[in-house]
Subunit: 384 residues, 2 copies
């Protein structure tokens, strides 16, 4: 019991240091060596896609000497990479801004193109309310527990008018609950927002969403031509499982891309990220990726089904690769710590998320088939 208390204290200290993000596995392992973490269920990426990337890396660069050019030389300039991405996703390169991870694009767009009053549905990813400038203000659109934290387009429209917001951020599917707005509703909303300064549509998790049984990939890129204020943000971290490579892109008006690239962001991605985009442009890679994407979605659907069979938790609707759950009788917030200490399963305690009042909220990521089985087992034991 003493050991547990010590670990608990250490964890809470590290959490405090990490601000509104969770301490990374690396930090936990370094600072609390007695922790035996087996599964990182905070981590929101497709592990099968990481396997695929590693396979290609090994095939294309059998030894590190073969990788030399990637490491030694300057990567191509931003616009050269934009050209490759543009050809791949059938969007003009002039509409593409390449980022060192999506977070760089979020930050650049927030401070350059959003107005003074930015509406943000909450709960959501904290960087969106942290990375604004001093003269900007985030106005929250609170999603309601009563409505399972699902976004209601009409409510949002009304709130935009009432609060006189000039910009809107939409994460679709949303993080941490995975609520998904279908294409029809997104268009309805964009039409309503035509006169705003900026609408950010963050598609970091859209590869795990679908609107039909064939699980085909959703795509909103074409909307950029109709809505000049729209900025679509794509992270490669989650869908392709390569957060450490730091790669993403934004799709926005030609003028906005031009303005960002002229003032900075010349060599903002690494040689390895440049290699990733080369892969991304290969039809064969994308086809193989789509197989592991669907495999992972199927996996996640099974995970959901197992989760919903567990007594004592509520699961919110999600079309992302994670589930927001509410654990009953978790007033002391111990469920997450017990999962970590007793079972080595790291789940995300959401009690620090603005808009998630009360304790007992956790975000559980879907991982590999085998890991998901073990997460389910651990939750069952913990709640029994």
């Amino acid at each position: 019991m003493e050991k547990k208390d010590r670990i608990k204290g250490e964890f809470l200290r590290l959490k405090k240091q990490s601000g509104t993000h969770s301490p990374s596995i690396k930090t936990l392992l370094e600072e609390i060596p007695e922790l035996d973490i087996k599964i990182d269920a905070c981590f929101l990426s497709n592990p099968y896609a990481t396997d695929l990337f590693l396979n290609y890396l090994e095939k294309d660069f059998p030894t590190y000497s073969d990788l030399r050019d990637c490491l030694e030389f300057y990567p191509p300039q931003n616009s050269d990479i934009a050209k490759i991405i543009g050809n791949t996703i059938d969007v003009s390169m002039e509409n593409i801004f390449v980022g060192n991870g999506a977070i760089e694009i979020i930050s650049a767009v927030l401070s350059n193109y959003c107005g003074k009053k930015i509406m943000l549905p909450i709960p959501t990813f904290s960087s969106y309310y942290e990375f604004i400038k001093e003269d900007q203000e985030i106005v929250f659109h609170e999603l309601s527990e009563l409505n399972n934290y699902e976004l209601d387009v009409e409510n949002l429209k009304e709130d935009l008018l009432n609060k006189k917001a000039d910009s809107l951020i939409l994460i679709n599917p949303n993080n941490p609950n995975g609520d998904y707005l279908n294409r029809e509703k997104v268009i309805d909303l964009l039409e309503f927002c035509k006169n705003l300064d900026c609408v950010i549509l963050d598609e970091s998790f859209v590869h795990f969403a679908y609107e039909s049984d064939d699980l085909d990939l959703m795509n909103y890129y074409d909307l950029i031509n109709t809505y000049n204020n729209l900025v679509i943000i794509k992270s490669m971290s989650k869908d392709f499982g390569i957060a450490g490579v730091r790669a993403g892109y934004g799709i926005m008006s030609k003028e906005r891309v031009e303005n960002l690239t002229k003032s900075s962001y010349l060599w903002n991605i690494s040689g390895l990220a440049s290699y990733f985009f080369d892969l991304y442009s290969q039809k064969k890679f994308r086809e193989e990726y789509d197989v592991v994407r669907k495999k992972y979605i199927m996996n996640t659907l099974m995970f959901r089904s197992e989760l919903s069979g567990i007594k004592g938790i509520k699961i919110y609707p999600s079309k992302a690769n994670f589930f927001l759950i509410k654990v009953e009788n978790d007033l002391d917030g111990n469920f997450g710590l017990n999962m970590l200490i007793n079972h080595g399963v790291y789940v995300r305690n959401c009690s620090d998320k603005v808009g998630l009042e009360g304790s007992g909220y956790y975000r559980v990521a879907s991982r590999t088939f085998e890991e998901n089985i073990n997460i389910i087992k651990a939750i069952k034991i913990e709640l029994s």
Copy 2:
């Protein structure tokens, strides 16, 4: 002759596309496949340091599977890396801002901490006059051909007063000529600039400079404690030969670091860059690095000695790993193109550098021992 003209035309088209930077080797090889480039003497890094990094990479991660964590997971946050660097260079982590390459830091510091009128000695690295905001102005301090483009501290002081500059950028050693201001002169200048908004001291090439015969590393970090407006910028691209990894850091006041990290730059370096900084913190690695640093400097000194024996060129004083040369009778600017087409040696034509009037200026990088011999041979043939 027809082939040459075609290649020439293609090269000039690509150069135009690349703005004030040279087209990369990768772009040249892709767009002009008939070019047979053997040596990239535009490229300013220590190739022996790249070897060292690759050796460590192979030892620490024998296979790509071992590298998985680096690629799959989010890298540690900016402040975690700052802590590692701080311990290594004996500077408080609170004074360190980690950057995705030095260029990210340059851009952030220019737009956040430099005032409206920034003095920049020219000729120099073009990003310094490209990455300013619309309400900022760069005022040039022209270095004189008559003085071999060497910086005269008293002249600079006078110019700062006359032009009422509020910030100063100092690249030491300077690029493209390699002129080096010793520690005493730098302190003299910082003292004079005490009341400016910001003084940027870019040390990208300082690992190749020295003030005594033992070639020991110069270090200006301590000056940060005396001069609160000083920002020291360190790239890892040149000294450690890893431009593709994108890693650098800035040393500046605690307030400035805090302000930059709070508004953005959370996960701005990759897993591989994080690994590099882990290496950087190891005494053994740094000792081995210092051996290849000195080996490379010796190499560069021999290169200089050979260059100065060639008739028809003038070499300017340099303590960097490259030499600015002036080729006599090169009014048509063909020397560089001929080096590329006839010998496969890519040298940097400096005719697009503000402050280098007239044609015939080229920057030639020192590469490996063997490559330097071949560069010398090619120049001799070309000028004979």
